[in-house]
Amino acid sequence: MTDSSKTLRRGPISRLGGWVRGTIGGLGFFTRFFLALLGRSGTALRRPRLVSQQIHFIGNYSLLIIAVSGMFVGFVLGLQGYYTLRRYGSEESLGLLVALSLVRELGPVVTALLFAGRAGTSLTAEIGLMKAGEQLSAMEVMAVDPMRRVLVPRLWGGIIAMPVLAAVFSMVGIMGGWVVGVVLIGVDAGAFWSQMQGGVDVWSDVANGVVKSVVFGITVTLVALYEGWQARPTPEGVARATTRTVVVGSLAVLALDFLLTALMFGN
């Protein structure tokens, strides 16, 4: 190798090129990983017990943090909503504001962010440690495909658990908004519920929120499994992978939320 080529290799353009290539390559691996899991998803149908165990592990253990967060978000929405709506004399619309904010945006998005922090990190660490402890190699040598046996049930567990958790978040949040708005501040209860009933559409609001939470469930679970699968089998490697799950998962959720909102609610 000549001296000039060494200089080029260290140059900023070369580094940028390397980064772009690395990123595209990473996306390619990620896509192939996703397709490989989809291709093996028949296991989820043939052995539903494996999926239900994961729904319990991923969903049930995240329930408390989701419900408590939903309640506080509902409290804040009730307060802020009331102060803003009072300026225009439309406090009765508080129920509609709380419900739409939660069902369309905050329910799916905040649940997905909490899901990445609670269930996502747990999945990444579990898969990474299984790799480090030769458990995945052991499965392979026992003629058991670790993707099919370990990853597919976790992926479907996450995909199913996420919309349910988002629904719980929204329900508890609405109750939180009701407690602050109706019970504590004194907004008319009839107006609170009837405005909500009249203004929230099942398809354009609730269904779109469910679609969002399914997409976020796929994204966060997939990122968590991928990071665990790709983790270096050392304590440091697993720690880095766990951190990447939160960072990449959260950013992906926020970016996808913008795209989905533009597609669903834009003209």
Binding site: L129, G133, E134, Q135, S137, A138, V141, M142, A143, V144
Partner: protein, 287 residues
């Protein structure tokens, strides 16, 4: 050079080589550009216990990885049940692996399952036995390794030695035709070690399964092995029955069996230019 010329003790291989459960024929193994072992020739027949011995880092576990198809030989042929592993399709490799049992060096127990479910795992994945049969078979194997009453415990609740015995029970629960044991005696107390050695011999005699022991333990392995292969310095150093190796005057064999510090195998890791550069930097940065 034929194997029998290179290793004068190697006359105890089965007459019909195609009957062998595992066969290495002038195999060379390595990672990346680094060759770990070359010129390995080994045959393991049904009912035979073969010990593969050698110092740390001599490539014993690499041989096990080649036998399971996790590593493909650079040259030579590795055959399991007569099938060339390098030419096996993924489906054929799966079929071959179902006929093998492997005890991993670290146990590799599934930490999300308890002791019972770890041993039951191969049965649940590869058989259609009903629950009663699974319970009976798993408890039987746990009884054999002395851990029947530990069936309900989580993996985190058992000691390292117990974990290895559970892993042993898992490796043999399907009663495979070929069992590969990677350091089966490591971390075991003398009582467990003796029982494990007898269990390995008993399985080979009773089920006529071929067994390969990757081990350092001279005493226990010599007491149960039919054939011993000694690897080191990147090659197959010696092969023969335990009696033949005990009688050998080969300096490498003698140093390994006697545990002598002096001999052809250096105890100290050799100094490399990279180490010299590192040392110079370290000494240059001293206060």
């Amino acid at each position: 050079m034929s194997p029998s010329t290179a290793f004068p003790f190697m006359h105890d291989v089965p007459a019909n080589q195609s009957d062998a459960a595992l066969q290495f024929d002038d195999v060379s193994l390595g990672y990346g550009e680094f060759t770990v072992l070359s010129g390995i020739t080994m045959t393991v027949a049904p009912g035979q216990v073969v010990a593969v011995m050698g110092g740390s880092g001599s490539g014993k576990t690499t041989m096990l990885r080649a036998a399971t198809g996790q590593l493909i030989a650079r040259s030579g042929t590795v055959r399991a049940f007569g099938q060339n592993i390098a030419q096996a399709t993924p489906a054929q490799l799966q079929t071959l692996r179902k006929r093998m049992g492997v005890l991993f060096q670290q146990g590799a127990l599934f930490t999300d399952l308890n002791v019972f479910e770890n041993v039951a795992f191969p049965l649940r994945e590869h058989t259609t036995l009903d629950e009663a049969e699974i319970v009976s078979r798993v408890l039987d194997k746990l009884q054999a390794v002395g851990l029947r009453a530990a069936a309900h415990l989580r993996v985190a609740e058992i000691s390292g030695g117990m974990a290895r015995r559970v892993a042993l029970a898992r490796a043999v629960v399907l009663e495979p035709e070929l069992i590969l044991y990677d350091e089966p005696f490591a971390g075991l107390d003398p009582i467990s070690m003796g029982i494990t050695a007898r269990l390995i011999r008993d399985l080979a005699d009773r089920l006529k399964c071929a067994s390969v022991l990757i081990t350092h333990d001279v005493q226990e392995s010599f007491s149960i092995a039919d054939q011993v292969y000694l690897v080191g310095q990147g090659r197959q150093a010696a092969a023969g029955t335990p009696e033949q190796l005990n009688a050998s005057q080969d300096p490498y064999v003698r140093q390994f069996l006697d545990g002598a510090p002096d001999g052809p195998v250096a105890f100290h890791y050799p100094e490399t230019p990279a180490f010299a550069r590192w040392l110079a930097r370290q000494e240059g940065t001293k206060p």
